[in-house]
Assembly symmetry: C2
Homo-oligomer: 147 residues x 2
């Protein structure tokens, strides 16, 4: 288990293709992990994710009651860990440190294992295990470039 | 000039000491760059910044008219470049790519050179040159650990 390493920064966006084009012009590279509904772009350290605003809020379990959707900041930082057990352990560490549980660790529809916490100011962090991605020697996510 | 590399992620927070303690428990290390009004924490790839909500909005030139402060997301991604000329060039590249200018490049009170842009969805990016920081071989910011 390792902390202090942001794996993915995901921005909620309105128009995925427009945002993909924008960040390509700024130097990020599209990857084979991208799908119609979500884009993952390789940066030189962390991965930039682009996701529809509503879909991102739904994935973060942020609806009108949990907490009010008006407060959802459209930004999620993700920490990817090496196993489901590591996710459980880091989730507990964060809660013990004062985070609020937003989504308890659970199997995700995309084949991984995911949880969400909110920091003391309501910033969202996903703590996840993804069996389909690789890490480099520094522990940063490495995505295959899209052709 | 290099893009696709996030140098600092800064979160707007209510209580700096509380947030500092929270992120220390999660593994980030406080650094000598921290001051009473702002904290900079070393992570294993990008730096995590903590700043008062109002101060962060002010630094980003986000007041009630530019744009409505209710839309300010309390999150700023920063790209640190190697010179003022690189900031000017990347700022122009971003505007040409479809970003909105939020603060034109200018000398900053802290001794550097800084600008802000908004992406097509209103996410804030600072493009800056800071003569007081070092980079590692991978181009990530390296801060001195606070004792």
């Amino acid at each position: 288990m390792t902390g202090a390493k942001i794996s993915i920064l995901t921005l909620g966006v309105e128009d995925l293709e427009q945002s993909l084009s924008f960040y390509q012009k700024l130097g990020w590279k599209n990857s084979t992990h991208s799908q119609d509904s979500v884009k993952f772009m390789q940066g030189n350290n962390i991965v930039l994710g682009l996701y529809g605003r509503a879909a991102l809020a739904e994935d973060a379990n942020a609806d009108e009651t949990n907490p009010p959707s008006g407060q959802f900041p459209n930004v999620v930082m993700a920490i990817n860990l090496a196993s489901e057990a590591d996710v459980d352990a880091f989730f507990k560490l964060a809660i013990d440190a004062g985070a609020s549980p937003q989504k308890n660790p659970e199997k995700a529809f995309w084949g991984g294992y995911s949880s969400y916490i909110r920091d003391p100011d309501g910033h969202y962090w996903e703590i996840a295990y993804n069996p389909f991605v690789k890490f480099d020697a520094d522990g940063n996510l490495v995505l295959e470039a899209a052709t």
